[in-house]
């Protein structure tokens, strides 16, 4: 038996729930086919979700999953230039005609899909992003120059969470695009995803008792993002997410974290997202999305 997981035509953090639900019990017993033929667009979050699923299946020692690439030439070219297929080929048996390799990514890809396996990778990510961040953040989005460094700090802290807490490797991608549906403005989106143990298991030994019966994926996300706790007792830990929240508050940005069966978001006024969603379909690891919108004249 093969279970077909259809990739949503527009694959972002919202349609992700449809993708996660299609796996059923985790890890699925059947062979998996991820069908992206009908895909029209994927955010960095969507691209990383597909790789994370492939990684989690490999780590669960399931049969190598199949992946049918998008039919649209434009979509597959874009995914290729964002670096998606380079890593998808390691995790999936790819079906369909891949576009020819291109020398460099599109100009709105600040950081193509990049694996985060160790501390050295975080250094690489920060080096790479510093080259294009100021052009996009200052030039296009109208953020102050100093925001560029804070942005790199936020990215560094988000990637370090994988190395320090996930128990496995993960992925990061950063892209700028126009957020027509929800905001009508240009945004920069950071997506970070891993197939690791998730927030609940990471924090369980040090914080579950305090929450009693309330303990679960949602409570763990609240503890990490709202209360700034860490699995380490060192008071210097857990500051990364606190810093990211402060930075986003200043720039009217948004952060959402999905882990296990829950999702928590700090929702800015321009969005209508639900702050906490619980009892969602299980998905391995943790998926973080950070959105920074262009600043209007009032904010600048």
């Amino acid at each position: 038996m093969t279970r077909v997981i259809e990739v949503p035509a527009t694959f972002d953090d919202r349609s992700f729930e449809q993708f996660a639900a299609a796996f059923g019990q985790w890890p699925p017993e059947e062979k998996i086919l991820i069908d992206a033929r009908g895909a029209q667009w994927a955010s960095p979050f969507g691209l990383l979700a597909m790789l994370t699923a492939g990684q989690a299946l490999a780590e669960a020692r399931r049969e190598r999953p199949l992946f049918t690439i998008p039919t649209s030439d434009e979509v597959k070219r874009y995914w290729a230039r964002a670096g998606f297929f380079k890593y998808a080929a390691e995790l999936f048996e790819l079906h369909g005609k891949l576009p020819k390799a291109t020398a460099s990514g599109p100009s709105d890809v600040l950081l193509d899909v990049t694996p985060v396996r160790a501390t050295e990778d975080v250094h690489e990510v920060v080096e790479k992003i510093s080259q294009g961040a100021s052009r996009i953040l200052h030039g296009e989005l109208g953020l102050e120059m100093k925001a560029t460094l804070r942005f790199s700090m936020a990215l560094s802290e988000a990637c370090q969470n994988i190395v320090e807490h996930a128990g496995t490797s993960g992925w990061v991608a950063v892209q700028a695009y126009t957020f027509r549906r929800r905001l009508g403005r240009r945004v920069v989106v950071i997506a970070v995803s891993d197939a690791g143990i998730g927030f609940r298991r990471s924090l369980e030994s040090t914080h579950a008792k305090r929450f009693g019966d309330r303990w679960g994926d949602g409570a763990a996300l609240e503890a990490a993002l709202i209360q700034g706790v860490s699995r380490f007792r060192d008071p210097g830990r857990g500051q990364g997410l606190a810093f990211i929240k402060r930075f986003l508050d200043q720039w009217n940005g948004k952060i959402s974290i999905r882990s296990g069966t829950a999702r928590l978001a700090i929702v800015p006024p321009w969005d209508e997202d639900v702050p906490l969603s619980d009892h969602l379909p299980f998905f391995p690891g943790a998926q973080v999305q950070i959105i920074i919108p262009s600043q209007d004249a009032e904010t600048r």
């Binding site: 501390t119 920060v126 080096e127 100093k146 460094l149 700090m153 810093f243």
Partner: protein
């Protein structure tokens, strides 16, 4: 005597690459170890950490390099002083954030938008005022500070003692003197 430690040089030697970004906890811990080794080999009573070659300093590294160094170098009063220099505004911010969490403080040399020495981290408003006054006027007694700022003697003494406990001023008997950072 002041020992200047160039953090950019330590970073290049530690990660064996041309990076100017001080990021990640393991890197920060390695840099801190190098700083502590340098301090241990020196007779100087003040270590000046020069960040001028550093581009980005993330919170994890600020915590590992500065906060943990202060925690380790703390303890017995009057043994070693740490001062920072060459910091940019975002680096000030990162260090301020982590030190406040630990209820620590450090002095930073003038530079950039800050023409006078300043304190980063967790200190009372009185201690900040006393520090600014001390840096401007030089060594003084608590009674002199009280007279100058029109404070009760106990308030001036508490502010200066708070600075001494955080190793932000030197003491010589009853006199408090600024660190050599002006």
């Amino acid at each position: 005597m002041i020992q200047t430690i160039r953090i950019g040089t330590l970073l290049r030697e530690t990660v064996a690459s041309p990076y100017r970004n001080l990021v990640t906890r393991p890197t920060g811990a390695a840099i801190r170890n190098r700083i502590q080794a340098a301090i241990a080999d020196s007779d100087c009573h003040t270590a000046l950490l020069d960040f001028s070659d550093i581009e980005l300093l993330d919170l994890s590294c600020a915590d590992e390099v500065v906060a943990k160094l202060l925690l380790d170098e703390g303890g017995e009063r009057g043994v070693r002083f740490v001062v920072l220099s060459g910091l940019r505004e975002d680096q000030h911010e990162a260090i301020e954030h982590v030190l406040t969490t630990h209820r620590l403080a450090v002095a930073a040399m003038p530079g950039g938008e800050h023409p006078a020495p300043r304190l980063l981290g967790w200190v009372t408003a009185d201690a900040r005022a006393a520090f600014a006054f001390l840096c401007e006027r030089g060594a003084l007694l608590a009674a002199e500070l009280a007279g100058a700022l029109d404070w009760p003697a106990a308030r001036a003494e508490a502010a200066l003692e708070a600075l001494a406990v955080h190793r932000l001023v030197q003491t010589d008997g009853d006199r408090y003197q600024p660190l050599p950072i002006g």
